[in-house]
Symmetry: C2
Subunit: 454 residues, 2 copies
């Protein structure tokens, strides 16, 4: 009996897509420079039992399975391989429970981040993780890549909000990990092991998520600096003095100019770095005044604090437009995701500028500065083989620089296909061996998202 | 060559203890009802290289190794087994780095929790995890058991503060996990796997810890309730309304009376439950007023907000004395550590009272109420075999009740020897099989803390 016939035994017809014109549209996530193969079939289960049937079938027939959320990932972790079964979780999109006393939500993996955020807001609650793609990305994908966002400097990443999981294992068995309690230390933390595992250990079919009380409306400030070093000095001072900004973002000269060119934001061309800080504290104006003074002391030429939410939105708009603006510079972009200790941020930014010059490329950087998490975006002409080669080489130089500064090759985007050679360099041989050992425990046949991570 | 001679090849004489009168004093942690064997040797290394030598030796000779911190644990995880090598990390007690910009500390495992707390305070920083034993317990032990404390309701547990680890593996190789950056998602989260693993996967020899800015001085409130149900209703309301207390503790009638009997605290004997809340916010008085009003609405007969730090300390003293007071009720105590969703806290407390009645025992409960984490403390006469049997049986009933209410058998004390049969019940066969698989990857010879956890 072949794969499709087996699948049909436990799935309705509409859950199985085999038309190559349609299945082909499931081949990629949003990463550049990552190969993708042609899936044999795409399945869209709606229940845990259906996922179990799919995995039992895949195990029996030794078919590789590529789990997918909303395919907004930036590392190729959701890319299809030739002949694989694409397991899309987008139809499992129910919010099962929102509990204000226990401050938890129980959700299926296909729930869109923004849908959950709005739903919990109605109960006075807050689900902090806010990837830029939050209107499109799914909670399952967020868990798979351990996504971050702008809020992380105050609220941490997705991993810190996952309390428990239901996971369908490679062989179709159902595993429940973790808890719905505030605390719990019974056994090894398997929940955390699945977060960021990019679909390589099992299929997350349900998650218990921690929620926070909804904070007050945030108020932002923008500060213009004559050098990235001065802006980074301000970042270090802000964090060393114990401030708790809800976001602390930095745009470099290239990003500022790209946004100016696209949207006439009126930022002076002499600005070498723009720092954006926001507070969702009870007295945000007082926090902005203190942080504004630190910016001025660090050399800011202009500090503009918002007085209303509308003014805050306007200030943050430049940051939101950055990637779109950089995408207009050349025909293609490659976005990197190197995170360094925030005390090394200035070196990371200066080093990235030197790499851009070395390769004769435009590289714009926006950064979650408070976290030391930079997103250098290499702009290049994909039709020009030499420029493409230089773009790829600069990307490697940027990761090498990040590691040299005591950082990591990925702060929040994950490894996928894009960075798997670099993962081995970051982990070293002992770490890599243990990670492979864990993979083998959960997926002895190697059918779960093969070719990713390692 | 025998074990001691091999050890001497890489350790100074004073690091090797073999006198049975001395080594015997390393046999136990502070758990009741847990067997302990006689160690063959106790070693007290001061360097990573010495730990590597010890583990290489243990691997060559297949000697079981029991890692120990300050032995303040409450589950027997640090208890010796017959013929084992006790590996005490207490001499590795250096604070290597405190970095206010990156908000991290780098420490060796033997650093005492309170010593680290005071050291980071001097830099305006805060290391939140605060087990009751914080003046004695070590960071390595805190990591091994994923310890909690009073602050967890606002600041979370030890696990949330461990960014990266250096670990000596069973065979002596050195593994570095995690990062010193604010974010990072490169590969599976091995750091988190070690936290709470009770020395069963490797020997933590260095940790990178996240720090917070030091919060304002906290201010507390005490509220007396005519029933535990009313106190639990107040807890649910406080948390559902979005308050962020820095502690939210509950004492039941038995605990209150024990403290009264010991310290003449003057709490009215009609009080069935005492709730203590504290805030370290910029305006604690306003928060206390709001929470006091919620307590009154839930039926509190008396609400006493502190106006100064000294008054706060006085209010919290009753809670601090609880365990000591309960230890005076009978010759022995067994402290449990069941955590339930906070919405089920009233059922847990009423159920525990029913279990005390069923077995004719005194069981006092203090609880980290905001976390739903209860510490039922069974008071019994250890010289009375029947009462001891009933104490043990009630302990099991309490864990069964916790699981039935959607909770966990351990919120913060760990599994050790005490709860290993119960761990299997909480995890289920699939979870247990995977956990054993992970153990085998890290410790194929089974020499690391055998007989614990599983």
């Amino acid at each position: 009996m072949d794969l499709i016939a087996r699948l049909r035994a436990g799935l309705p017809d509409e859950a199985i897509l085999t038309d190559p014109d349609i299945t082909g549209s499931y081949a990629n996530d949003m990463a550049s420079f990552c190969e993708a193969g042609t899936p044999a079939v795409v399945v869209l289960p709606r229940t845990v039992e259906q996922v179990q049937h799919i995995m039992r079938t895949a195990t029996e027939l030794r078919v590789p399975v590529v789990p997918q959320g909303a395919r907004t990932g930036l590392s190729g972790a959701a890319n299809a391989s030739d002949g694989c079964l694409v397991l899309s979780l987008v139809k499992m999109d129910r919010i099962i429970e929102i509990n204000p006393v226990d401050r938890i939500a129980v959700v299926e993996p296909g729930v869109i981040n923004a849908v959950l955020s709005r739903a919990v807001n109605e109960h006075g609650l807050y689900y902090p993780p806010d990837p830029s793609s939050w209107e499109q990305c799914s909670i399952g994908g967020n868990i798979g890549t351990a996504s971050g966002g702008l809020c992380c400097v105050k609220y941490g990443v997705t991993a810190e909000y996952v309390l428990g999981l239901d996971v369908v294992l490679a062989d179709g068995r159902l595993l429940t990990t973790g808890r719905r309690t505030a605390k719990g230390v019974a056994g090894y933390d398997l929940t955390r092991l699945f977060v960021g595992s990019e679909g390589s250990l099992g299929i997350v079919v349900r998650a218990v998520l921690a929620l926070k009380p909804e904070p007050p409306q945030q108020l932002a400030l923008a500060a213009e600096f004559p050098s990235t070093a001065a802006a980074c000095e301000a970042v270090c001072e802000i964090m060393a003095r114990g401030h708790a900004p809800a976001l602390l973002e930095l745009m470099d000269r290239t990003s500022i100019r790209a946004v100016n060119a696209m949207a006439q934001m009126g930022l002076p061309d002499s600005t070498e770095a723009l720092l954006l800080a926001a507070f969702d504290t009870p007295e945000p104006a007082a926090d902005l005044a203190a942080v504004g003074a630190l910016c001025t002391a660090a050399g800011a030429t202009e500090v503009v604090p918002a007085e209303t939410a509308a003014e805050s939105d306007l200030l943050l708009q430049a940051r939101r437009l950055t990637l779109t603006a950089l995408e207009r510079v050349k025909s293609a972009t490659m976005i990197d995701d190197v995170c360094v200790p925030r005390s090394r941020l200035a070196e990371m930014l200066d080093g990235t500028a030197a790499i851009a010059e070395k390769y004769g490329l435009t590289i714009g950087v926006c950064a979650h500065a408070g976290d030391g998490n930079t997103h250098p975006t290499v702009c290049f002409d994909a039709a020009d083989p030499d420029e493409s080669r230089r773009a790829r080489a600069s990307f490697d130089d940027i990761m090498a620089l990040g590691l040299q500064l005591g950082g990591t090759i990925t702060g929040e985007h994950g490894v996928g296909v894009l960075k798997k050679e670099w993962l081995a360099r970051e982990l070293g041989p002992v770490g890599l061996e243990l990670q492979r050992g864990i993979k083998d425990i959960f997926d002895p046949l190697g059918i779960l998202n093969p070719g990713k991570l390692f």
